[in-house]
């Protein structure tokens, strides 16, 4: 059975069809949320909340995009709302904690990929999310604009500016001029 058929059945109230869609897209959703939160625990919690929202709004899903795209749009909005509700300091501490864990894991394996994640983690979500959606997932600017409910031009400029900021910080880190833990755009 194709995705569109599962979607149509789910919209008509078929619980098995919706469960199939969730199961097929669960791994994709959690992996996306791991890249946003840097934490498996938070990613799984947000995935549960995303499914709850999807169950409520499945009848409104127009089927123009893939089901996975719809799910990550919901997940992104939930993540942004959650961060807004949390106290800024609290959310920053959580991310720092997650980053320390990742750094430790990477260093144990003698790898340096955590440097890039650390720099990306210091970016504001306004920049980080469009970069992730554009360059990792390959979504077009208009798709990202629709997902984040912002103008296409804003997405383009955020992707461009965000990359410049990360590159700048990585270059400065190499020269040892930029203190670790200080943010570029976090303030």
């Amino acid at each position: 059975m194709e995705e569109r058929e599962w979607v149509n059945a789910a919209k008509k109230g078929d619980e098995y069809a919706l469960a199939q869609l969730f199961q097929q897209n669960y791994s994709f959703l959690v992996h996306y949320l791991i890249k946003l939160t840097y934490s498996l625990e938070q990613a799984e919690d947000l995935a549960q909340e995303t499914m709850t929202k999807a169950i409520e709004h499945i009848v409104k899903f127009n089927g123009k995009s893939k089901f996975s795209t719809w799910l990550i749009s919901i997940a992104t909005r939930l993540y942004i709302d959650q961060k807004r509700k949390q106290k800024r300091e609290q959310s920053w501490q959580k991310q720092e904690q997650a980053l320390r864990m990742i750094k430790w894991q990477a260093q144990s394996a003698n790898e340096d990929w955590h440097m890039m994640l650390e720099s990306l983690g210091k970016l504001k979500d306004d920049f980080r999310i469009p970069i992730l959606l554009k360059h990792y997932y390959g979504y077009s600017y208009d798709e990202i604009a629709a997902m984040l409910q912002i103008a296409e031009g804003t997405v383009k400029s955020r992707v461009h500016k965000g990359i410049q900021m990360v590159r700048k910080e990585l270059n400065e880190d190499d020269k040892g001029q930029y203190p670790v833990g200080k943010t570029v755009e976090q303030n």
């Binding site: 969730f22 199961q23 669960y26 992996h31 840097y38 169950i55 790898e111 992730l132 360059h135 912002i150």
Partner: protein, 117 residues
């Protein structure tokens, strides 16, 4: 800066491509550093059933709340209309003013949001 020192457009896009490649590699490594299992279909079915039950319960509660408030408002309106007509007129005028004020405020807020984006 001499002409030789200025990076060409081709070089710049190459370094950007390399940067994106390295970024994607980091994301892949991050993905691999966490392992989890996908639950089976029955888990999702159970979750959907529970959630739908919750939605129905909430809908019933909302409907009850709406009906109760509607009955209270209508009772007050009828009482005012038959017992004290001037209070009824005053309430109508206040409702219209509040609605116009609220609509204007929302409109202004919406315009502001668009300007910021």
């Amino acid at each position: 800066m001499t002409k030789d020192n200025i990076p060409s457009e081709k070089q710049s896009s190459k370094t950007e491509a390399e940067f994106v490649q390295s970024m994607n590699h980091s994301f892949e490594q991050l993905e691999q550093s966490f392992s989890f299992t996908t639950p089976d279909v029955s888990f999702f079915e159970q979750k959907i059933a529970e959630q739908k039950k919750q939605i129905r319960k909430k809908w019933r509660q909302d409907l009850l709340l709406f009906s109760t408030i509607a009955i209270i408002i209508l009772s007050l309106m009828f009482t005012a209309f038959f017992q004290q007509p001037y209070v009824f007129v005053l309430l109508q005028v206040m409702t219209v003013i509040s609605l116009v004020g609220y609509t204007g405020y929302e409109f202004k807020k919406g315009k502001g949001r668009v300007r910021h984006e």
